[in-house]
Subunit: 141 residues, 2 copies
């Protein structure tokens, strides 16, 4: 068991997401509909497979993602967000807004986020509900 630097909530967040890759995995599952190892691996940022394996395992240990076998493809795993994972959405949106205002972001990404922001709490609730439903379909059995 790794020891914690402190129990401050910001530090608690950092214990899980204080690296360059973990949050990109959440983004892929949450906003880009990716569910398989290789789908995530092929994202723009080109995460190495050893890092992806490591981070997915840590996310599973932390109860943020759950790994299930694909019934149709025995060697394929499906990675789904848990409630704890879905609850990261407000953080992701706040980050996106900050980057939109203060960092260089491409027009394509800008439009993508603007849509999400314009949809407001309504759209975000709808998206959360859909993700949560997916999780509940898995965990009931």
């Amino acid at each position: 068991m790794k020891e914690l630097k402190s129990s401050c909530p910001i530090n608690q967040y950092l214990e899980v997401f204080g690296d360059k890759w973990t949050l990109l995995i959440i983004r892929d599952i949450m906003f880009d509909g990716k569910r398989y190892f290789n789908e995530i691996r092929e994202s723009d940022e080109k995460i190495a497979s050893n890092i992806l394996t490591d981070r997915l395992n840590k996310l599973e240990e932390s109860g943020i993602v759950i790994k299930t076998k694909d019934a149709k493809h025995k060697q394929k795993n499906i990675y789904t967000l848990t409630k704890t994972g879905v609850d990261l959405m407000p953080i992701m949106i706040a980050m996106s807004l900050w980057s939109l205002n203060h960092r260089k972001v491409s027009e394509k990404d800008r439009a993508h986020v603007s849509e999400l922001v314009k949809g407001g709490k309504d759209l975000q609730d709808k998206m959360s509900a859909a993700l949560l439903k997916e999780y509940e379909a898995i965990s009931e059995n």
Copy 2:
């Protein structure tokens, strides 16, 4: 110049805050009133001085923090949040809320954050305004 992995807003955020320390520095300045190198160094998480030097420089380069000389103590620097830095507050609050709900947080920290959340947008606006005023006092001259 370091190259960027992508222009995705989440990745843009990670280019600056994708490590275990940078956000703790922001927390110290934003919520704990710390303004000096050694005040930040003495926080619970015990950041090493070489890392602190490195991160403060990067935050200054990114326009998130501004460094000024203390008029009363020639060898002391004052670190202040810029507008870009103050605008991180919604992210910090969203992170704190998530940790409160899903991670182990001490009673003391819990009370601290609850107060901030109960204060609502009003309190957060007031805090942002105070930090921004500090920055404006420095940048006008």
